[in-house]
Point group: C2
Amino acid sequence: MSQGLILFAHGARDPRWAAPFEDTAARIRARQPQLLVRPAYLDFMTPDLAGAVAELVAAGCTRVDVVPMFLGSGGHVRQDLPRLLDELRQRHAGLTLQVHTAIGEMPSVVQAMADAALAATGDAA
Amino acid sequence: MSQGLILFAHGARDPRWAAPFEDTAARIRARQPQLLVRPAYLDFMTPDLAGAVAELVAAGCTRVDVVPMFLGSGGHVRQDLPRLLDELRQRHAGLTLQVHTAIGEMPSVVQAMADAALAATGDAA
């Protein structure tokens, strides 16, 4: 019985855009190798959310956590994502799909962004 | 001679989307009150980058750092932002406008995202 984690991001036309999500996934795998971590994208990039969930279910996951890799919560997090999750819960009856707070709204991430932005101004001064 | 910092984000239709940027700005102000910190948005929200820069110049800033509040660097960071900065450097001849790495590509932020995503899966288990 495996557990999965999907880092659900917006996607972009430029393949270099995905680097931070791959980097985040690699750091999570390094800390918790038994957790199956997959990036997934709303648009432009693959896999999409349905593809990532199907892959994790095929790998034996009965529980998949979804962390929205969005800084703010607008229409994509508040409307598109719940709609996608509803469809996937119907498709995968035995699966627990748990969505979490958007990454940019987690206080530790906000603090890291504030520290990094402030450090950047100092580095360049 | 004041120094300014602009947190340059994408913008969205939902006003709640801006919360993490306001939160980041507030944390920076708490640590460095003399730094003039302003969010600015590419689209949907105000001020735009030109408006934020004009405000900081009017407040006496001769140097403004711009941190792209984007997780990944695609067209917005690699093409839109440099074009906007070129225009602003022509408009404000005495101003030093320094752009930095996108916030989501800063290693400390990536590590914070990995830690927060992993903690979220544990919280809910």
